[in-house]
Symmetry: C2
Subunit: 303 residues, 2 copies
């Protein structure tokens, strides 16, 4: 079992879907990621919150064993995001973004975290992602990165620089097409792999995920859910399950990568069953193995 | 190895996609279905063409061993369809439909075909589908049906009557939601299963297919293609590969059904690589096994 470090946002989200609305609930990429990964392996979070960040949220993460020594509390207000989803739930419409303390976030990886072997650079300015990577004492065993349209469009060169240095990129389908400037998803995934990362994981929302590693494809369906309430955080818990399993196994071979992709899908499938981290908070570890077994059955092609 | 009977349209299609345009090429649900299925098992086609139907198209089907004794040649012109696809290729826009001889098509199943054990009722008026089923001497071993939005909206009661009597329905995702009047696809598939068919196959275009049988799900991805030229006929060749494999094995158990779904996906993946039946015409049987093996690898979750 190896340790896992995540650098990224901790936020307070206001989210409306056709199934309800929540105000200033716990959110942020590093939050979702670390909470999900904590079911698998020890997790360290580097991030920033404001003075207004509710103590109960810190308690929640600590109770799952997430190490918050790297979580700075800065003067000012916590990052806030307000978004809305329509019935198709595949794309969020951002109504408001208040970066607040996140605007000046310069992550400092403390000395005792610089040797952590598994590193996830959550969606954040690619210059900061590269800076975090530079702070590591040795090249981690596996570095994965997530990004989004905002950086693809606004900081393409910096993004290409950091992409050249990571092992895995997780990206959604539309953004993969945008990054590769290629409408065909298969060609796009190959083109992104050619930018550096040996493994490209394309998240396709309700259609699951696709991984290309060493030129060969693996495709995982999404779990067939009867009720999806809120897709916020699905991609980050997906990454948390994926990286969590790899770190827990301390392996990065092809077979482990495939199982990790399914664990990612398992965690994402729970997240969307409720708002914020609510479903994960009431998640029993046994449910993870049960749903993994259901995925095995879902995908099983008898010889 | 068991025989397979298909009843449905034979057409001349004019199709435009972002990658080209073809005029009055061979098309129609029964055509695509029978051509694909002929790689697996003996196929009999019941349909109608006009006096203008090119002899070369008949030759093509005969060369693949498709039995055309049930193909009527009626006075008048062959059914013509004109459609267009945009870049997303998921939905055809119908520009023109000329039913011609297909408007008065009343399929007559000849005596020697009334005992065929595998029957596919391609997309056609559900009253005609039911009439064909009534003409069979004994209840076939397996009856599958395809339908579309036009009948769901316009002949719902007749469609429900025939659905109650078939084993398998193949339907695309939007139409499944429409038929079940339920936006969630999982609930929709279960609702359709409750209408009669024990097995519901939902076609999701570039996202593959989903099957619910006896309450449990199986999901097959689409083959990751670098070039898709024309999706016309994909659903019908999918059904052709699916039913072709079942008939060839003369089995309808769960494991065979799963493999059949992959053979359906294999055949559909070839069809979309070119216009009309062009890719299937130059398809070598060995390519089918090769692509099936690629699907196995694509879906393989190591234990």
């Amino acid at each position: 079992m190896a340790d896992l470090l995540v650098v990224g946002s901790v936020a307070l989200d206001t989210v409306e879907t056709p199934f309800g609305k929540v105000r200033e609930v716990l959110g942020g990429a590093a939050t979702y990621f670390s909470y999900a990964a904590s079911f698998f392996t020890p997790v360290h979070l580097v991030g920033v919150v404001g003075e207004d960040f509710p103590e109960e949220h810190l308690r929640l993460l600590k109770d799952r064993g997430v190490d918050l020594a790297g979580l700075q509390v800065a003067r000012g207000r916590t990052f806030r995001w307000t978004g809305q989803y329509g019935y198709d739930l595949n794309e969020a419409r951002t109504l408001d973004t208040q970066l607040n303390v996140f605007a000046d976030f310069r992550p400092a990886v403390t000395a005792d975290l610089r040797g952590v072997p598994f590193l996830f650079l959550a969606n954040i300015d690619p210059e900061i992602q590269l800076d975090v990577l530079r702070q590591m004492r040795a090249r981690p065993r596996l570095v994965a990165l997530d990004t989004m349209n905002f950086w693809i469009q606004g900081k393409r060169q910096a993004l290409l620089r950091v992409l050249a240095e990571v092992d895995v990129v997780t990206i959604n389908d539309g953004e993969a097409r945008q990054l590769a400037q290629e409408p065909n998803l298969v060609k796009a995934a190959r083109a992104i792999a050619a930018m550096g990362p040996k493994t490209v994981v394309v998240k396709r929302g309700e259609y699951g995920a696709l991984m290309i590693a060493d030129g060969s494809f693996f495709i995982v369906p999404a779990y067939p859910l009867e009720s999806v309430y809120d897709p916020t955080g699905a991609g980050d818990t997906f990454a948390g399950g994926f990286m969590g399993h790899l770190a827990a196994q301390d392996r990065v071979d092809g077979a482990t990568m495939r199982r990790a992709l399914v664990y990612g899908s398992v965690m994402a499938s729970f997240t969307v069953e409720d708002f914020s981290l609510n479903r994960l908070i009431r998640l029993a570890p046994a449910e993870i193995s049960e749903r993994f077994a259901e995925f095995q059955d879902l995908m099983r092609l008898p010889v």
